[in-house]
């Protein structure tokens, strides 16, 4: 389907904010009490990211004036639930992140607030992922891998951001602890992404014009898609097949920026050299990779209606060909 900027920003930034909040919750127990300023800064970063994501969600609505009805279908619509859970998360996070600016707080604020905000973040991320995973017509997304992937990538991006916050504060011991965890998380993310790309390939291959009619006189080849053509202006659920080189190139970029570079950064931080700069580089690299990964998630997804829009490889006519027919060759040989 057509990837749009608001969609990319909402999903990526929600994951990033949720990941940072979870890391704050974990480190509120692990860090010494004197490090409250680090937790406060991380929470403010998380809140700022969530606010940008929230603002971009308004741009995803083409008629925001009807937004007042968005909670009408909580019973059945994951998008309704997403609006509710993400709104609740933003509110809780706002109180937890902005509270220390106006109230005299101590470490328990970060323990309790961090855990509460983390639970809300997990709920919001799960609901957002389920929104995509529960659409049977989106053949590439209709799988538990969608939930796993979105949550793992989101939490990891937040983990790398927290690593950068800790690295800039020169807290060597917490950086080492988080770096080891992120090493494992990155390997898990790489495995999940490989499985998901295989699912995308299978979905792409399983749908073609031959499956579109349910009739026996196969094979079928589209000769007229019904007064439409790429990029399917009014039909945003389909998107022209990505060229092989573009898909491969973007997957390589994801592999480089979400796996190889961050792993190199982790090895560097465990080595103890250039803590601040390296961790920031790792976080930026992973975030860039997340945007590319999410673009591929939307742009490379296969919708079931592709059977009627399919850009299948053209197979040459078996009648009109430049090659001489076998009968002609036999007759020529007999001469």
């Amino acid at each position: 389907m057509r990837p749009t900027t608001p969609l990319l920003l909402i999903t990526v930034l929600q994951g990033l904010s949720g990941g940072i909040t979870m890391a704050v919750a974990a480190f509120s127990f692990l860090l010494p009490p004197a490090s409250d300023s680090v937790l406060r800064n991380a929470l403010l970063l998380s809140f700022a990211v969530a606010v940008i994501g929230g603002i971009s969600s308004f741009f995803h609505m083409h008629r925001p004036q009807a937004g007042k009805y968005i909670l009408r279908r909580l019973k059945t619509s994951w998008l309704s639930r997403e609006a509710l859970t993400t709104g609740l998360y933003a509110m809780i996070l706002g109180v937890v992140a902005l509270g220390p600016l106006v109230l005299p707080v101590n470490s328990w604020w970060y323990w309790v607030g961090g855990v509460l905000a983390s639970l809300a973040a997990l709920a919001a991320m799960f609901v957002t992922a389920m929104l995509y995973a529960t659409i049977p017509a989106m053949r590439s997304w209709h799988s538990p891998l969608t939930v796993l992937s979105m949550m793992a990538v989101g939490l990891s991006s937040g983990g790398y951001a927290m690593l950068a916050v800790l690295g800039l504060s020169h807290l060597t011991s917490p950086v080492h602890r988080l770096a080891i965890f992120m090493l494992l998380a990155t390997i898990v993310v790489a495995g999940i992404k490989l499985l998901q790309w295989k699912l995308f390939r299978d979905a792409r291959r399983s749908l073609n014009a031959a499956t579109g009619t349910g009739m026996p006189r196969a094979p079928y080849r589209i000769i007229d898609t019904g007064t439409t053509r790429p990029p399917y202006q009014t039909q945003t659920q389909v998107w022209p097949d990505l060229p092989l080189s573009l898909r491969g190139g973007l997957e390589a970029v994801v592999g480089l920026t979400m796996v190889l570079l961050p792993l190199g950064v982790i090895v560097g931080t465990l080595d103890g050299s250039g803590l601040g700069l390296l961790t920031v580089l790792g976080a930026l690299s992973f975030l860039f990779g997340t945007f590319v990964e999410r673009w591929l998630f939307f742009g490379d997804a296969t919708h079931s209606s592709k059977v009627w829009f399919v850009d299948q490889d053209k197979v040459g006519s078996r009648v009109a060909t430049n090659r001489p027919s076998p009968a002609f060759v036999r007759r020529f040989r007999n001469l």
């Binding site: 083409h62 009619t213 006189r217 592709k306």
Partner: protein
Amino acid sequence: MQLTIITDLNKCVGCKSCQVSCKEHNTAGAFGPVPDTDPYRDPDGMWWNRIVGMETGEYPNAGVLYLPKACMHCYDAPCVPVCPTGASYKRQDNGVVLVDYDSCIGCQLCMWACPYGVREFDEEHGVVKKCTMCVDRLEDESLPDYERQPACVQSCPTHARTFGDLDDPESTVSQLVAQRQGFGLLPELGARPAVHYLPRRPAPVVIDENDVLRVMEERY
């Protein structure tokens, strides 16, 4: 009641008159005009009914098949429960799936949920639009009875399209589906489409007893 349109693929010749009459009626009609920002230069705008042309079989047993594709007005329409505002809804009285433009936020989730790709996004108004089964004609009591049917059905020159109530076992559409093995598209996705197609095969010749007697009298 579940209103539906049955298309006989044996009779459809791909003339696109249903596609054009749909556009004509719904551009001029009162309910949900189809946008046309640049109709003479850009024919790839919004169409609620599209005719897909397909080449079938392998040479020398090749043929051409035309598949008119509009909203299937599914029994379990997947576009309805995903809509966060309730803008997409299925009418209880006649089974037609409609969009309330006033409460649509234009998120396009229903377009992803529809297995058939028949919902279209109107960028100008920021809402999703689709076939309404010409509900404004069906319920317009000022029209004569023969005109109270969808524009695509009325305009079909080969009478390939039949309109009626699929839930009524005595209706023409129900009997056509039952007798001619009518099928819905992509049944594996579980939407239970109301719109059916009659497969391409020789139609059984229905001979009435009176016809037999008449021919016997004429000839012998």
